[in-house]
Amino acid sequence: MVNVTASENHIEVRELRLSYGVKEVIHGISFDIRRNEILGVIGPAQSGKTSLLRCLNRTIDFTPDTHVSGTITVDGEDVRRVRNVYALRRKIGMVAPLPVGLPLSIYDNVAFAPRSAGLNRKGELDLMVEQCLRQAALWDEVKDRLDSLGTKLSGGQQQRLTIARALSHQPEILCLDEFSIAIDPVTTMRIEDVLKELRRHMTIILVTNLTQQARRLADRTMFLWKGEIVELDTTNVIFSDKPRDSRTRDYVEGIFG
């Protein structure tokens, strides 16, 4: 199923430009993401972090009046030329900033993606739902009430439900977009533990507004500012005393941004 290319890069982005109408928000950025690493993406609001993720799984297509140029390849394939865009999106799990429990039962929330993909056998679905909820550290809390509505869960539970849903289509890449802004620190730490577990078999892109979160989790960290990459290096370097760009140090130390 995975056509492993010679390169160990899982995702390659080359000269990516994105504009909404006449306003360009990403100005030709290039970088690689290695297989099974956690890439932290930090940067202030409006720096193009979310837009970048939306280009990756092509949900940018749903926003009218956008123009994308450059290439993004996943496993050596250009995502903008992909014909089965639904399969592409299933390959990439996406967790949005605000938890979104769909107005379906907890079970149906997790089973939604496999069902959309045509998996309908009850036994397999049951197994899949349990596995995903366990991976998202939610199973013990909800196993007795899988029929109740996903929207009635607490914020932190809904966010883990969202993660379970993102895992349900067995993605190879997991993107988390500021997943912790709506949940408390304790739950955040639980989810961070989950992520450490998951990195063994998937590539994770962690967009975060908490620089310390990137420091705790990421192997490499990218500082994105106003649609340009200020610096991309191992997390140790970025958070050290001597990053190459002084803006990086200022940002991670909270001096600006």
Binding site: P64, R89, V100, F112, S116, L149, R165, H169
Partner: protein, 302 residues
Amino acid sequence: MNSAAGHVLFVETPAVRRKLRQEALAKWVFCAMAAAMVVPLLLIVGYLVVRAAPSLNLEFLLEVPKRGMTEGGIWPALIGTIYLVFISLAVSAPIGILAAIYLNEYARDNWFNRVINLAVINLAGVPSIVHALFGLGAFVYAAKFGYSIISASLTLAIMTLPVIIASTREALASVPQSFREACWNVGATRWQTIKSVVLPNSISGILTGVILQVSRAAGETAPVMFTGVVFFKSIERGDLFPYYLNEQCMALSMHLYTISTQVPGVKESIPYATAVVLLALVVMVNAAAISLRVYLRSRQKW
């Protein structure tokens, strides 16, 4: 007022009293204006019911008109109205709902879709008599359906269409965008998203909008009077299937017009009773729509 010096600031002065009086006056004036629309309506409805009382019974509903429509009941008109309403909504509801899905879920903001929006708004504003002219020209003559239930129902369908589109769009738009994005993110197609998340959560609003059109279609006269509704048609008492679709039929609204303006010597209470039946129909339909809305809102899932 023998309070401490600190309270002197808040003691009523003549100016303050005047302001308070003004305040109260404002409230009563506007209340009276609202009441000026509501009270006459209730009085009029009460008057109609009182005048209609001698004829208001089950027999009146089931009986056919007799003696040149001066006596008897309204059965052929009642059943004709039911035919027209159901056929017209069976046509306009699916088209309207799908059109609203297009406009709300698929359409991008470009000039073409702006033209469509404009067309919907314009369609909603077309006078009913112009719909009648269109029905006559298009369905009766051009499509050769003749004066028939089909022509009349199609005319009504086009008339109700824009309102169904508008109410369905409103219902669809009330489903949060984040639900759609969540579905797209896991690789669901647009249609899968609509089918499993958008429609189930907007169906109450959609249904309410369609139900409200029942009363509108039942009450319209002008669009059907030149396309397929006649003054009088002889059918059996209580017959449930008296009409073929390529025939003309009677309708309540037209019947009320006929017996109150065209037929001399009608028994006094009959037109009143016909009007009351029409009103009762409208009240029932609206009540049904409102209770459906309240019930489904109580079960809202987010």
